[in-house]
Amino acid sequence: MPSSAAIDVNAITYGHNHGPHWHLPSWQVLAGQAVFLQAPSGAGKSTLLSVLAGLQPVQSGQLKVLGEPLHKRRTAQTAPWRARQLGIIFQDLNLLDYLSCLDNILLAAHFGKNKQPELEQKAHQLLQRLNLPADILHKKACALSVGQRQRVAIARALINDPPLLLADEPTSALDDNNSQDFMTLLFELVRERQCTLILASHDRRLSREFDQHIALCDLSQSL
């Protein structure tokens, strides 16, 4: 595996216990690349991202993410690694409704054991960078619009400066204008931090600025 590979897949099989299974023969993503993973709904995008995040085990083959041999780890063992190394944005259910925006962001820092001084100020700067008003910091997540929640989710994903960002249909709940704004901001922040981005979506229109554009059906085979 080249030293700059963020993801190195070698003949892995993965899937749900009582659901579909897939085989992915080979795939590499270099550090700092932005990869657009395109597939229709239900094709296994979320499952692949879960496997890359160590939330689901690989059943066979070898998978290294940021040098971590996930095929040798049980999912319970990957939690601290995931907290420190990954930023994850979902299509929905991104935030805990009962916490404030600040607490949602600081929760990721808490799990990542991020002891950086002035984390609160960093969260504040990230939100500013994402064009969110300053007073949003102490608002409960349930009081935000969908667009605002997705931006707070970006801030949370980036608070630990992770080398790898996984995004699963992050714009599915946004309208076209908000979706474009979201992608612009996401790319700006990813480029500033030089982190690797894997974004899975069914929407081909989002793929313009990515370094790699992969159709999941070309990459993996359903078993």
Partner: protein, 406 residues
Amino acid sequence: MIFRLALQSLISRRFSAWVCIAMITLSAIALLTVDTLYRGTQSAFGRSVQGIDLIVGAPTGDINLLLFSAFQVGAPSRELSYATFTRWQQDSNVKRAVPLMLGDSHKGYRVIGTNSQLFSHIGAISEREVFAQGHAFKQVFEVTLGHEVAQQLGYHIGDELILSHGLGNHSFQHHDARRFRIAGVLAATGTPIDKTLQVSLEGLEAIHWPPAQLAQLPEQLAIGESPALQPDSIAAFYLTLTNKVRTFQVQRAINQSKIEPSQAILPGVAITQLWSMLDWIEAALLGLGVLTALVATIGVLSTLLTHLDKRMSEFRLLQTLGASRRYIFTLLGLETALLVTLGLFTGVALTITLERGLTGFAQSQWGLYWPLNLHWPWLIAAIPSAALASGILLAGVAALRLKRRL
């Protein structure tokens, strides 16, 4: 952070959290109240014989003598001569002697024939006024009422009543040749005295005279004015000694008396014997308390477990952010422990408030003494232990239910 997370999570589900806290609070109140009732009953038993060093009657069982003389339960099988009573009354070791004549009733409430020493005895052990209204009987045909009798039958000072023969609720023989005028109502004592009527020995003797002889007695007759009314026998008498060190000596002297066979018992010892016979009540009350706590625990568990399925997305989000399973189960345990702690503290606080607020009222209305005697070191250890145990229990059950889903 985990504490803030648990607290915010509970606040977001405040309705079900309040339901859980209410269940725990009520079970804590029930447990403490059951304990209080048990202690209160014990205390009432103790207070019924407070200040009495010996109870003397005709030879019978210890518990029988205790029951009919102090608790107005059952009846004496034999009586003791009045001469024996006067002899011990005059003994230099005796500070106070209270005679008891039994065998009559009024509307189901027992009548005690006695003398003014009974009121001196009540006054000596009570910190309050002996009489709520009126005064002790001074005339042969005057009666005083226990607090509950006056309250239940609605009698007032000056009212007149007829005593009946026998101890049952429905007597067929009424001593209706003479009426007794109510002279006073005793303050509530929380002892069986509250459920009795008290008349003079002479009064009780008089109504058992033949009608023709009774008719010759004047309506207004002061106690002690007619020596003929002195009874021949009484059921029992209480003795309070001048020096408690002599109790066993006096008891032995009574039990070995050659003049008349009699029996003296130590009421405290007899009550202990009685309690040891009734220890199943303690077990039943304890069982009731444990059952209440168990019902509350199951209620809280079922409420919290019902929410687990609804919270799966929350748990998955935490897991995605890097929370381990152990962290999630600890969070669940902490939430439960917080609920239990809050519920128990509220329960204890409410019980104390109720006790403080109702003690005076309960004492004056029902003579109920509420000895809420919290053992704080035990309580301070018990609350966190209960919280920890319930937290571990819930986390354990949740781990079993969710281990395949997280």
